[in-house]
């Protein structure tokens, strides 16, 4: 796997999102989709390691805060990912490389659009993460 433009997407299990995002794999060969029970379960320490070493960008696709199947978990993870993005900013890294897409059952099209714009953004900006 070419380390410099791999994109890793952690996708929450609900509402067949995994199939939705994996459908993009054909279009973006460097995309790796990893299903997780809830993106709140994800420890940002893994994200830091991925961004510093194995991956160019990390995308999290999960339920919208008010609509999370686990009701409360995503509120805490919202703060955790806020702090994770701030840590990236504090260290001079481009915090847009950690992209969080909130989705809910009705918005599949919007999710795909957001995904596309992000992948487009990645293509335009060359690698200045300094790693």
């Amino acid at each position: 796997m070419d380390r410099t433009n791999t994109v890793i997407a952690f996708v929450c299990q609900a509402d067949k999102r995994k199939k939705l995002i994996s459908s993009l794999k054909s279009k973006y060969p460097a995309l790796r989709v990893i299903p997780v029970i809830c993106i709140g379960k994800l420890n940002p320490v893994i994200i830091f390691r991925l961004l510093m070493k194995e991956a160019r960008a990390v995308i999290l696709v999960g339920c919208e805060p008010s609509d999370c199947h686990f009701r409360e978990g995503v509120f805490f993870s919202e703060r955790r990912f806020f702090l994770a993005k701030e840590v990236l900013k504090g260290f001079g890294l481009n915090d847009r490389l950690l992209n969080i897409i909130w989705s809910n059952p009705g918005k599949d099209a919007l999710v795909l659009k957001q995904f596309e714009t992000f992948m487009q953004y990645l293509k335009e900006t060359q690698i200045e993460k300094g790693a």
């Binding site: 320490v45 830091f48 510093m52 509120f75 840590v87 504090g90 260290f91 001079g92 300094g130």
Partner: protein, 332 residues
């Protein structure tokens, strides 16, 4: 040398210390300009206590040894007296709200602190080719004898720690404590030359790539000796830390000491301590490689205040920055 505040502390402790009370304080070490934390168990040793301008250490980090891991109850029968500068009390309060210690068997001895020394500034004043044989404080002058016996005196204002220049001479404690010294007089003239709000941080001056390059250059000097982790009161997963690989089958961080892994080490550490860091400055003071960690903890300390209006160590309520939320914040 007469040091009224120290004698007042010793006198107070002698009056209150009972049979199996324990005092956590500082005593002189044979290295000029630095004191060694000590645990005193009988009255006779109280005379060894030192305090004042060379009280650089934040003793809060030693507290967790006196409390059992499972239920945080004190392992002592008597009281634990802890010698604290007013700014150290924030660390103790934060440890209480982090549920590392519980205050019922704890008594803080806070005293009228007139600022602490910054030994790096003292070293710069005397030059890199000389060294200190003995150092002492005479009111507003530091009187030193150098290795070749020549005396030198430096005004305190030149070597006072920059943290003290922002000291608003306040502390708020709900737990049982005593203030040694004249509190009104102490509060009457705060230093606060550079107030905390209008402080310009590195992250304000530099952004993106050149901020990253500067931090990468600074952190590449890191030798990963874990001193900043072990001295930090907010870094309390003592025996199951993510960086001690055997405990975790998959280490998030290799033990490789390279610029990238050093950045990853400090990123993970600051992500963990940002919510409960009280900016006490211990990590920067003791770094053997002189890495200016204030470039990082100042940023996260201000971030917590501005974005989540949470200032670590200000109240021992159990509210935690990362364990509470407000609806409709949409931070991300």
């Amino acid at each position: 040398m007469i040091n009224e505040i120290r004698d007042a502390i010793i006198q107070y402790l002698k009056s209150v210390m009972k049979e199996n009370d324990v005092v956590l304080a500082l005593r002189s070490s044979s290295t000029p300009g630095i004191l060694t934390p000590c645990i005193l168990r009988n009255k006779a040793d109280l005379d060894q206590i030192e305090a004042g301008f060379f009280h650089l250490n934040n003793l809060a980090v030693y507290l967790s040894e006196f409390f059992q891991k499972e239920n945080r109850l004190s392992t002592l029968q008597g009281y634990l007296y802890v010698l604290c500068k007013p700014c150290d009390t924030k660390a103790v309060t934060q440890m209480i709200s982090d549920q590392q210690i519980n205050p019922n068997k704890l008594k803080l001895v806070v005293y009228a602190c007139e600022g602490m020394a910054d030994m790096k500034k003292v070293k710069n004043e005397i030059g890199l080719d000389k060294d200190i044989k003995a150092i002492d404080l005479h009111l507003t002058e530091l009187s030193l004898t150098l290795l070749d016996g020549s005396p030198l005196s430096i005004p305190v204002s030149k070597v006072i720690s920059s943290k003290c220049l922002e000291c608003n001479k306040e502390y708020h404690l709900t737990m049982s404590h005593v203030f040694v010294g004249d509190e009104k007089k102490w509060k009457s003239h705060p230093y606060s030359i550079a107030t905390a709000e209008n402080k310009v941080l590195l992250q304000d001056q530099k952004k993106g790539k050149d901020l990253f390059d500067q931090l990468k250059a600074e952190l590449s000097a890191c030798i990963r000796c874990n001193a900043c982790r072990n001295v930090c009161h907010a870094c309390f997963c003592s025996d199951r830390c993510i960086f001690d690989k055997p405990k975790m089958t998959v280490g998030f961080l290799d033990k490789e000491i390279s610029p990238i892994d050093n950045i990853l080490f400090h990123m993970i550490r600051f992500y963990h301590v940002a919510p409960n860091c009280t900016a006490c400055g211990e990590c920067e003071r003791i770094c053997p490689q002189g890495i200016p960690l204030s470039h990082l903890y100042e940023y996260f300390h201000r971030l917590m205040q501005e974005s989540l209006d949470f200032s670590a160590g200000s109240s021992d309520s159990m509210r935690q920055a990362m364990l509470s939320y407000r609806l409709g914040e949409d931070l991300v």
